[in-house]
Symmetry: C2
Subunit: 265 residues, 2 copies
DNA sequence: AAATGTGAACTTTTTCACAGCA
DNA sequence: TGCTGTGAAAAAGTTCACATTT
């Protein structure tokens, strides 16, 4: 819509598909693990297995970044780590504020994966005056009154909302007004933001509900000679509805693709 | 190599697209809010706005469930709440165990949205003997040794893993061996599970990295006459790479679709 | 008049399969 | 020979636009 350019990517299109972007952190994690084990190169097959995707997808994903592999050999681990990090913007410093230091906010502040990879917790903010000054994960909690000042002083462009649902929209608006342009929302609400502001949502109960949906399906299918030999008759099996629901096999995927099926037994 | 059933869904496919399933909890939440305000009916337009999607998508989604609306009128809120709940399997009781009661596990145990909507925290499990018996969110923590017994006794089919990454795969295998067939994984690892077991992953650092990617793009695009008038020159703007990257406008989406653009300013 | 439900067009994502290169 | 990189095909998801129903 907005841009008038609707012709085919004429020359070198820098447009990485959203689905690919969402998988880059996955590859990066797998690569980092390999790097720590001093593995010098890796094939698309191996890396794909480690990341839990299929190798064709991985190769296609990488092809959007450029030609970073060597035919007949594979990918240089260190080099790929660098390329993906740079593509994701992790070679720069991202100061982040966490608003709402309840149970979840504290967990986030303590979460190691946050601090690594270029993200730095610039401030913890809570509306409760009793929390002010109290250190969480070694960082003193500051009062909401300070929000705008902190964001401007630290140059924060990414905010994390871990407040109750009722406070989220208001916090969001203050963050945005102060200059934040990317928000990670843990509150179970739909946030309204102006154009140009990115919101990503993490919702625990939604994930559980999706699992429940598939779980129910499995219960309904257990008569049709499916998998899952152990303990299958535990549910009340309320799945009475449409006629014999002969859909897919029971195997299912995670949020963004495949889950490698490796029998541990 | 588990199931041999690969035939096509023969007759009336009860197959609800995965993307639709992922949005049902969103609709349900919006509907529940309307229900609490005693709103009797709602149009696709209104409901879509509340859920943060577009109305055509919502109607299409609902069409997979059946014809639950009334032309010229809209949808009966209570009726839809019931239908979606049932479709998601939330009309039955889902006992859930949470393994790993650190900061995050405790946050999850305390999270209200968990307990509502059919999910019941059947047990909190931690490997630390010092935690045993200590109540979290009113539920005494039990030791990992009890894991199998709890799952069998309570008929648990959904497990939540909130352990450190190093313990996750092992916990996962014990859960699965004991009969769990759906897992919500908060540990930053790819879990290997047998066929027929569902895994969904929630990964805080991945979400942040995706935000960083888009944030970097914005910084690189700010020369091209984009949006974001306020405080735009804060980043180091390392985005020097491909030639003039004239892609989309700066507006972006969340994990599963649209973000309503409502200027608060 | 208003709003659903849905074929059809379109877009995005995944998968296939193999040419091409080290 | 082995593995990448990628066109082309297939599948999944989204949006359009309007016939249909209340």
């Amino acid at each position: 819509m907005a841009t008038g350019r609707t012709h085919r990517p004429a020359t070198r299109s820098r447009g990485i598909p959203e689905a690919t972007v969402a998988r880059l952190p996955l590859y990066l994690r797998a690569l980092t693990a390999l790097s720590e084990r001093s593995v010098p190169t890796v094939s698309s097959e191996e890396l794909a297995a480690a990341a839990g995707v299929n190798s064709a997808k991985l190769r296609k994903d990488f092809s959007y970044l450029g030609s970073y592999g060597t035919r007949g050999v594979g990918y240089d681990v260190e080099y790929l780590v660098y390329q993906i990090s740079r593509e994701l913007g992790l070679t720069q410093d991202w100061p982040v504020v966490i608003v709402g230091i309840g149970n979840l906010g504290a967990a986030l502040a303590n979460y190691g994966g946050f601090a690594s990879r270029g993200f730095r917790v610039a401030a913890l903010i809570d509306a409760d005056p009793a929390m002010a000054g109290k250190p969480v994960a070694g960082i003193p909690v500051q009062h909401t009154d300070e929000l705008e000042k902190i964001i401007q002083d630290e140059g924060v462009s990414i905010g994390v909302i871990a407040t109750p649902a009722g406070a989220a929209q208001q916090v969001c608006e203050r963050l945005v007004a102060a200059g934040v342009t990317s928000i990670l929302n843990f509150a179970p609400t739909v946030l309204s933001v102006p154009d140009g502001v990115d919101v990503r949502k993490v919702d625990l109960s939604i994930e559980l509900q999706i699992l429940a949906f598939h779980e129910q399906r499995k219960a309904g299918e257990l008569a049709a000679g499916a998998v899952v030999p152990a303990a299958a008759s535990r549910q009340e099996t309320a799945a009475r509805r449409g006629a014999a629901a002969g859909r897919e096999p029971a195997a299912d995927q995670g949020p963004d693709g495949d889950v490698p099926a490796v029998m541990p037994t």
